[in-house]
Amino acid sequence: MSHAANWKEIEITSDLTIPKLFLQSAKKYWDKKVAMREKEFGIWNPITWKQYYENVKRIALGMVSLGLRREDKVAMIGDNRPEALWAEMAAMCIGGVGVWLFQDSLIDEVQYIIDHSDTQLIVGEGQEEVDKFISIKEKCQKVKRMIWDDPKGMRPYDDPILINLKEVMRIGEEIEKKEPGLFEDLVMKGKGDDVCLLFYTSGTTSLPKGALLTHYNMLTMGRNLMRVDPYFETDDFVSYLPFAWIGEQMMSISCGIQAGFTLNFPEEPETAQENIREIGPHIMFAPPRVYEQMVRNVQVKYLDASWLKRKTYELAMGIGYRKADLKFSKRPIPWYWKALDTLAYAGVHKKLKDHLGLSRIRYTYTGGAAMGPDHFRFFHAIDVNLKQIYGQTEIAGISVLHRNKDIKFDTVGTPIPDTEVKITPEGEIISKSPSVFRGYYKMPEETAKSLREGWLHSGDTGFIDGDGHLVVFDRTKDVMTLRDGTKFAPQYLETRLKFSPYIKDVWTIGDNKPYITSVICIDYAVVGKWAEDRNIAYTSYPELSQIPEVYELIRKEIAKMNKDLPPVAKINKFINLYKEFDPDDDELTRTRKLRRAFVEERYKDIVGGLYSNTDKVHMDTTITYEDGRVARIITDLQVMEVPE
């Protein structure tokens, strides 16, 4: 890589903290470089390092005057926006500990985390977050103040616990005038071993656990990642995934502050995809669902295109797939395939990349959940360097990564430098690195379970293949035993099926059962369009999901996938669910992983129906809306067989 010469690694000592590095970078770049951009009122507004520094300083000193001391917890909730990052950095600068909440968290989760983390100060975006907090204020007595920054709709609020971010900054500025140098002194007091983040993991089984991460953890993880894939100060990164996800912290904070690249914040969550295209980032890290959505968008446009366009696309993708497969198998690509690929690239792939906002992408990562091989092939076919990342919150985000030119879509790659990964005799993946966390906050038993002699126990099952790549099978408890005794990962079937544009989510059942079955959540937009094109009338998701033609459509999609599978692993029966899986109903975690034990309990009638001779399952259940309202649903679901 031509940039490689520019890459200078930062030495990470036990004294170095994220704020100290922030101060260095701010002074280095000052008003010469843009630290972040935010799109507002239709225009990208740059924020220089000088402005970044000054805003953080004001907020930090303001927080001090609100009574925040070292090791106090500051909870943050809201969209990705500069103010959110300033607040997090400000809290770290004065020795505070950041706690991030998912913006769409239900009120009980918010209350649990705020209470369990002993949060003293909350930083929320605007009215929605303020409303959330005020409704649980009485139950969160430890919270002293709540800071908000978006004035929209805030005119009738006069609760004295609330304070505007502008006011906090004004107070901070006054303190700075009275005690110049106080801010720098506070930053200098920090040590690398201080905890900087208390990160709640979205456990698939139990209550959220708070992982304690130090500056040293975060910085070494970033450094080790960048030893594999260097990032440069000229790079652009779009920050739009929740800050409460470790992947976003790892890019925006750990790597961002070391590499000095520019962070870009979209105008609104709804405009993220368009804004990504405007920026054309060099690096991207997102969970599989983001890439799955991209593929689905392309597939839907394809279904809608004219005959000529469809044929051109099919041809170009055929060439792309061929080249990608040769690359994956590390075979040389013959000159004629190269020539064809150049044509396909110029005609189709390049444009696709541009529309997806990936035209300048150097590395793009997926992690946090399993991704199907078909999705992987798709991106490599259009020449996007998509790599798998594996890691946990407990190891500051990442421990294993694909190397350029050594990508296998069924593995997650090899450990990053300074990191050891082993498999226990029971098959569990364990790892050790300077980035392994300190333990769970106020949960010594849980800590002892996952942290043994410096080794982090992941709870994932896997093995190391012949090339030294780590293969993650599944969460240990999720691995299925089929009727002939073979072990099988349900995730594999699920990710394969999700390549169909009509299928949004899948839950596969089959552990110790005579055959495998699936519960399908159709993609409302795509299937809805499909139905409209065929003059099939429907009014709602539940109705659409039960239309016989839709069942037939899904049956064909499953049969298509079944063809490549051994007989015992074929899906035998399925049901279209009357709703999508939703974190608000506890069916998914906030990072959208299926909570199997929970759905198994919740939908035991469905499971019963799939393993009996009935062709109808009667459902009587409730769904929860984000604002806590509950609605009752009574419906009959059809069971359909997929002939072998």
Partner: protein, 269 residues
């Protein structure tokens, strides 16, 4: 906004007939600056006719209309728009083939000062003016109504709920002193109704806007919640006027609605 005592719009003894149908009969009302003034009534009561008279689409056979003390009875619609009277329509009246942004810009047209020629050359003052108007639209309207994600979308492609919002945006582009809203909630789902009600309150209360609203609406839940005063029409005649609670209890109003009891009692909330 605090409701003032200043009468902004005064309608006196309005009569309007279409052939043998008497659509309005001696209707008088006074809307105070800063109010949300709602007009209710069964279908065919003359609510939309009244709005059409106020903004100049119809010319009443008898009666006068005063806006901020000025007699505007004989004014043309565009002259009334220049004074600051803006409106939305029950059936969306947008340019379906153009983008959201262009539709909103058209609503701002009245404030453009550059002429045709300098406007088409787009140079100097004309460019400057254009940029200022764009900034106004972005900061004041698109941000307020949360339509950032559709600003470049073609209107016809948008779902109905969003088109309704664009309709409101277009009316706001005029920077009105008073806005006439003709059934802004009709056909919206619960979430969209809640959003729209919030926008109406914002337009009325936010320091930046403080716009008087005349609201014609069937959703009694929202009308009774957000209005300062309510007037009821039936067969072109005013049958009640007063605070929401008073009008709700008025025997004549209940009777007028008897045939459509659901309208008054069963609301969406």
């Amino acid at each position: 906004m605090a409701v003032t005592q200043e009468v902004q719009l005064k309608v006196s003894n309005l009569n309007m007939a279409f052939g043998g149908v008497q659509a309005l009969w001696e209707v008088s009302l006074e809307v105070k600056k800063g109010e949300i003034f709602s007009i209710i009534g069964p279908n065919g009561a003359g609510k939309t006719v009244l709005l059409n008279c106020i903004n100049g689409l119809y010319h009443p056979q008898k009666g006068e209309i005063f806006f901020e003390g000025k007699d505007i009875t004989k004014f043309k619609p565009y002259e009334r728009a220049k004074l600051g009277i803006s409106r939305t329509f029950q059936k969306i009246e947008l340019f379906k083939g153009t983008t959201v942004l262009d539709n909103i810009r058209l609503g701002r047209h009245i404030h453009l000062k550059t002429g045709l020629i300098s406007g088409s050359i787009y140079f100097g003052k004309a460019a400057h003016e254009e940029i200022e108007h764009r900034a106004y639209i972005e900061r004041e309207i698109i941000d307020l109504l949360e339509i950032e994600h559709i600003r470049d979308k073609v209107v016809a492609m948008l779902p109905y709920g969003l088109q309704k919002r664009v309709e409101l945006a277009r009316a706001l582009a005029l920077n009105p002193k008073i806005i006439l809203l003709d059934e802004p909630l009709a056909g919206l789902n619960l979430e969209e109704v809640e959003d729209m009600a919030r926008f109406i309150l914002d337009i009325n209360e936010e320091e930046r806007w403080q716009t008087t609203c005349i609201l014609v609406e069937h959703d009694m839940g929202v009308v009774m919640d957000i209005s300062h005063r309510v007037m009821a029409l039936n067969f072109g005649e005013k049958i009640a006027e007063g605070l929401p609670l008073e009008v709700q209890k008025n025997a004549q109003v209940i009777k007028a609605y008897l045939g459509e009891a659901e309208d008054l009692y069963v609301t969406r909330r």
